[in-house]
Symmetry: C2
Subunit: 216 residues, 2 copies
Amino acid sequence: MDQPEKFKDIWVVEDNHELRHTLEEVIDSEPDLICSMSFRRCEDLITALQKESPPQIILMDIGLPGMSGIEGLHHIRSLSPATQVIMLTIYEDDDKVFESLCAGAIGYLVKGQTTLKIVESIRVVLDGGAPMNARIARKVLTMFSRFVSPQADYALTRREQEILELLVQGYSQKQMAAQLNLSPLTVATHMKNIYAKLHVHSRTEAVVKALRERLI
Amino acid sequence: MDQPEKFKDIWVVEDNHELRHTLEEVIDSEPDLICSMSFRRCEDLITALQKESPPQIILMDIGLPGMSGIEGLHHIRSLSPATQVIMLTIYEDDDKVFESLCAGAIGYLVKGQTTLKIVESIRVVLDGGAPMNARIARKVLTMFSRFVSPQADYALTRREQEILELLVQGYSQKQMAAQLNLSPLTVATHMKNIYAKLHVHSRTEAVVKALRERLI
DNA sequence: GCTTCAATACCCTGTTCTGGGTAGTTTGTC
DNA sequence: GACAAACTACCCAGAACAGGGTATTGAAGC
């Protein structure tokens, strides 16, 4: 370990010198936090992650030149899954913020916040929370519930629904026929009708639509 | 319409008389909010939803006798998808809270809160947000990212990855070849290799695996 | 210099799918 | 009892796919 156990290590990736130094100072002025490394480019962070022992938290600018913060996020997730990433953003209500959360960020920090607020967000993460406002939380929830409950209605009949499910399970038409005690020709008919209702022209497209829109 | 347009209608489902009346009063004392109906049982709410025009928001006790709040939630989602549901809970850090969010609730309200806090939560929802604390938000995020990135590694090469993406977009082998300036036979070779690496035997299975395990 | 791997390209054969039909039988609803 | 919708089954032709090969080229690593 580079630091004694009791210190929580926090790295910073931010191309603006001033902000980067401010963040470093704020972190270091806390008795139990330390900013052992900071970077102006995402690429340098990746290199460091492959050599050094990873930090608890990374503060990452969302709009970096070169490799973007979101791209960098993916690298971090695979190099050090335990590291939590807080995104730094100018606009709270940015689509990029939401995108980051989808990519595995744990929350975000709006630039230009008070020192108190910066430390608070870090503490929220260390405390097992996710710093975000209610509106972003709603976006996440909405997207989340799309995974959980179906929406669109293509008026599939019961049989068609059943066949769509088998389709997603990788059954061939012949296998479906065997499973459902039908003629393969009947299954083919149902498939044609499913395609028409979903406005697709191949099993692949049907499966993608079924999975993406939670039809199954 | 039962109420003039400018009033936001909010229903309450809570078996405790006292709390129910408190909530009614708090809502009605706001100039633009009205509590036109309240129930002590979820079953009565369902009945009402089938007859009356649905409210903007329902405050729902999470631990009702008879039909539980979460069960009721499912009925609300299908009867009136536009209605937002705020759960009423005793413990903030309850698994049931999280369960409710999965079932489509938009947030929650801890019982015993100040009048100010109750109104604030309602306003957050009306304002397009989702009232929840950072810890719950983290739970949602974690669950969410489980859907988004389980990240298995099948060691696909760059070309194979590229072809898998086109596959998910519904391209035929011939179309892929045109898109990538390759011979259709080359695409076929890559497809075979992809199948072998993903341990599948058809496009359908490959697409399902790619979407389910977020390989794309 | 040798090896390994990715990427490219081809052959062949049999299977499966797609999309255009038609048509009889159930089933549910008014 | 009438009618619509759903379910069933079939024909056909052309396209696409799956799976078994082989082979060349160029770049990366040892």
